[in-house]
């Protein structure tokens, strides 16, 4: 063995591996895009939950001899405690109060502090009261004036259920996903790799039945994995808790734990369908792994958030894929699941699964899968061209305004995302104004310019800068004037942002430390994103995706990417909806200008309202919201009509 031989082989292997775009995608996109996205969004949601618990004013009931109660009141005077008269443990169990403090005479007086250990608000109330009562009375007397005996009132079975509910739902969802992962790849991409696809497709069986059979097999395996893990984890958690608690016996809520099994089949069906659908896109086992691994992590994020965040199962969360089943499993273990919400979660999960199954059936016999589309310019040649301009190898078939491919559009987005996380965010945290200007004009604008240069196009051609019809511009203005209102009300209904988040946004527009003035704010927060973000998103990204998808799917995907790019769990929905609207405008008008106009007017409206302190729709009564929403929807519809009309006229329809 010589070093030359080793390096020769290593060089060949590296060359081959690095020419595999999928390996590069996993190597680069995963650590730089998916992990930051999942962790940041999860952290934001969890932080909001912690903030909510901390901002909750705990209701503490006091009882005992009047003199001691008075002293107790004095000690507990705090803005985060609301003190009330006597209450019973039954009131505590029914969540009418968060803690019950009963003081008895003694030296020092003893406070029996009852709390519900299965409620976060109650545990927070216990901590606050204990901290205040156990603090020394003053600098001279070091001993605390009260002795506190905290007593959990939840029945043992409920405590066990609470402990299980913290671990099991997440474990079940994650394990079901894991159980579906490899079988889904094996029966789709594995079949293709083993060259049995044609044999299967030549059989006289309907494709939907074929895929339903495959999904059923994967769902069965995933269910088995889920059930085995659920059973094993239940016993492990309870045994572990018993060891920690010593001789104290925990009652195991067997019936409730068993009820949690109800979520396994629909969850397995959903993930099996999703993974089979995605596996159906892949041409090889390796490609399927590349496609499914990020999906696995993205699916885990809502389950993780729901599992750790202690969110309520409501009419909205019940319909969020991954979240609904996690919360339902928890509520079933805690014995507080309502029939209506249980049915809503099971039905919606099954419905999403069925939709994914239908997609899988459509994709599985896609003719694309019989052929390869690997042809393309090598990375090295493209980089040379980027650096040296026309002197290097051409990046496109020839100069002109050819759009990028969908893969190039996604790669461009990934680069922008990496810059956002590792450069733009730190810059904006350092100083918002200069950070935003650098991120937008140099970052996003520069990226668009580099892309155009790499393709031998002018920026105007690359982003489709064309003079729009006056009607389209008028429509864009109307859309900009109304979209923020309609989208804001929708988002408030579906996923209301915590007050702190809204307040932070207001402070960014009107800094309390010193107003930057209307014109400067409009330039920074309306014109800058309208030009730079639109240039990238409604320019090459939208055009690239359009080469692969229908206009509707292109608008939705670009909108989603735009929403995710804002990297804020609470703003993903409204910004994604805005992104879909702006993408629709750009596609319909075949020019980027109306989308820029609509984006500018949308942001400008919000800025003006925030400066006038007139942007709080929360404070409005229900009927006023309904009226405003209707008015906004009407103006929006007129705007959309005008943009479409202008396009139809241009096409001579």
């Amino acid at each position: 063995m010589t070093l030359r031989e080793v390096t020769l082989v290593a060089g060949k292997e590296l060359r081959e591996t690095l020419r595999d775009r999928r390996t590069l995608a996993v190597m680069v996109l995963f650590p730089l895009v998916v992990y930051p996205l999942v962790s940041l969004v999860t952290a934001q949601v969890l932080a909001a939950r912690v903030a909510r618990v901390e901002s909750h004013v705990a209701r503490v009931a006091l009882s005992g001899p009047p003199a001691l109660v008075a002293e107790l009141r004095g000690r507990l005077a705090s803005p985060d405690l609301a003190l009330a008269g006597a209450a019973t443990d039954a009131d505590l169990a029914a969540s009418r109060v968060d803690a019950v403090a009963e003081v008895k005479p003694g030296k020092p007086p003893t406070v029996r502090l009852a709390y519900d250990e299965t409620r976060e608000e109650s545990a927070a109330a216990r901590d606050r009261v204990t901290r205040l009562l156990e603090a020394p009375a003053d600098a001279v007397r070091c001993a605390p004036p009260f002795a506190v005996v905290a007593t959990g009132i939840a029945p043992r079975a409920q405590v066990s259920g609470y402990l299980l509910s913290k671990v099991l739902p997440l474990v079940v969802v994650v394990m079901v996903m894991l159980g579906a992962f490899h079988p889904a790849i094996d029966i789709t991409a594995g079949e293709r790799e083993r060259s049995t696809l044609e044999t299967t497709l030549s059989a006289p069986i309907d494709r939907s039945a074929l895929m339903a059979g495959k999904v059923l097999a994967v769902a069965t395996l995933a269910s088995l994995t889920g059930v085995l893990n659920l059973a094993s984890m239940s016993l492990t958690v309870l045994e572990g808790t018993r060891l920690v608690a010593g001789s104290e016996k925990l009652a195991i809520p067997w019936v409730r734990a068993a009820a949690a099994f109800a979520v396994v089949p629909p969850t397995a069906f959903l993930f099996a369908s999703v993974m089979v659908a995605i596996g159906a896109l892949a041409r090889s086992y390796k490609e399927a792994q590349t496609l499914l691994t990020p999906v696995y992590f993205l699916c885990m994020a809502p389950a993780l958030t729901a599992g750790l965040g202690d969110f309520p199962l409501t009419g909205v969360t019940a319909f969020v894929p991954g979240v609904g089943v996690t919360l339902l499993a928890r509520d079933l273990i805690l014995g507080r699941a309502s029939i209506a919400l249980t049915l809503a979660v099971l039905a919606s999960t099954a419905l999403y699964g069925a939709a994914a199954l239908a997609l899988a059936a459509r994709l599985y016999d896609s003719e694309r899968l019989f052929f390869t589309d690997e042809a393309g310019l090598g990375l090295g040649a493209w980089l040379k061209h980027l650096v040296w301009g026309r002197a290097g190898a051409p990046a496109a078939p020839g100069p002109g305004d050819e759009p990028p491919t969908a893969g190039q559009a996604i790669a461009l987005y990934a680069v922008a995302f990496v810059l956002l996380v590792f450069v733009f965010f730190p810059l904006q945290s350092w100083r918002l104004g200069p950070g935003l200007l650098i991120s937008e004009w140099i970052g996003l604008g520069g990226l668009t310019w580099l892309y155009a240069r790499g393709r031998d196009q002018s920026v105007a051609r690359a982003i489709r800068w064309r003079r729009p019809a006056p009607t389209a511009t008028a429509g864009a203005i109307l859309i900009g004037l109304s979209a923020w209102l309609v989208i804001g009300l929708c988002a408030e209904w579906i996923l209301p942002a915590p007050k702190e988040v809204v307040e932070n946004l207001r402070r960014a527009i009107v800094p309390p430390s010193g107003d930057r003035g209307l014109v400067a704010t409009l330039f920074l927060m309306a014109l800058t994103p309208a030009v730079c973000e639109e240039a990238l998103f409604r320019g090459p990204i939208l055009r690239g995706l359009r080469t692969r998808f229908s206009p509707a799917v292109t608008a939705i995907v670009t909108g989603l990417l735009f929403g995710i790019f804002h990297l804020d769990a609470w703003r993903i929905l409204p910004t994604a909806l805005l992104g879909v609207t702006l993408s629709g405008i750009a596609l319909a008008s075949d020019s980027i200008v109306p989308a820029m106009v609509a984006h500018f007017v949308n942001n400008a409206s919000l800025i003006v309202l925030a400066r006038m302190h007139a942007d709080d729709t929360d404070a409005l009564p229900r009927h006023a919201k309904l009226l405003l929403g209707t008015l906004g929807a009407f103006v929006l519809a007129v705007g959309v009509y005008l943009v479409r009309r202008a396009t139809e006229r241009k096409r001579g329809l």
């Binding site: 083993r194 060259s195 049995t196 696809l197 044609e198 044999t199 497709l201 030549s202 059989a203 006289p204 069986i205 309907d206 016999d365 003719e367 019989f370 052929f371 589309d373």
Partner: protein, 256 residues
């Protein structure tokens, strides 16, 4: 005169910018072996996949047993046996499990399926390995099992995509004898290969495919004669391709 078992009429199949089949027409009668011959990339496999209802024609039409493959692909698949150019067996099933599975997919009653499996096991000498997993079989054994899989429902039309690729001389001869026997039972066979000598031995008629088009069609002897008494089908094919390419070049020059 009876209706042809297979009709391909002005068939075009495009994949994005690539045209794999460009206006192909031919027909195959019952009790006839028709060979689709041509080099790799000529459009043979694409044509057979269209006939099997796996691919949809871009334009033109294809009929199997009088049924349009684009309109009723399931009915077509019930009437044909398709042997892919890979053996395409499920590696982790045994031979018997595989045949049982396909017999049920074809809707054969259990008793009929057992009789049919036994008959094919005898005809194709499958018994020694029917209980073994497909992944443990030799290439020749896999190919025989594949044929049994495609013939389970006794289809009127057999579509065989390069069935002798990778087989040794004995296995190839065995397969050719089986195909002839099926032809003699009245089946229509569409057979693709790029081994022209083999086609000469087996086919009643052949169609020479080049760049998705039919260069010539007829009995092997007739094609050799048409190519200036070429000594073999291979030589005839080369002469016809050269003539076609020359004509295309001349047409391009005139257009310029």
């Amino acid at each position: 005169m009876s209706e042809p078992a297979v009709v391909v009429d002005s068939l075009v199949k495009r994949f994005a910018a690539k045209t794999a089949v460009a206006g192909l027409s031919f027909s195959v009668g019952t009790g006839e072996i028709y060979g689709l011959l041509g080099p790799n990339g000529a459009g043979k496999t694409t044509t057979l996949r269209v006939l099997a209802g796996i691919l949809t024609p871009t334009s033109g039409r294809a009929l199997v047993a009088g049924i349009d493959v684009a309109e009723r692909p399931l009915d077509v698949r019930r009437r044909l046996g398709f042997l892919t150019n890979t053996t395409g067996l499920y590696a982790r099933l045994t031979g018997r499990e595989l045949l049982d599975y396909f017999a049920r997919l074809y809707g054969l009653p259990r008793a009929d399926a057992e009789v049919r499996v036994e008959a094919l096991a005898t005809a194709l000498d499958l018994r020694p390995f029917l209980g073994r997993r497909c992944e443990a079989l030799s290439t020749g054994e896999r190919q025989r099992l594949s044929i049994a899989r495609a013939m389970l429902h006794d289809p009127a039309v057999m579509i065989l995509d390069e069935p002798t690729a990778g087989l040794d001389v004995l296995a190839s001869r065995f397969l050719r004898a089986f195909v002839r026997a099926e032809r003699d039972r009245g089946k229509a066979v569409v057979f693709s290969t790029h081994y022209l000598a083999e086609a000469e031995l087996l086919c009643d008629r052949v169609g020479l495919l080049h760049q998705g088009r039919l260069l010539a069609e007829g009995a092997p002897a007739g094609l050799r004669a048409a190519a200036g008494d070429a000594p073999s089908l291979e030589e005839a094919f080369l002469r016809l391709v050269a003539a076609a390419d020359g004509a295309a070049d001349r047409a391009a020059e005139v257009a310029e």
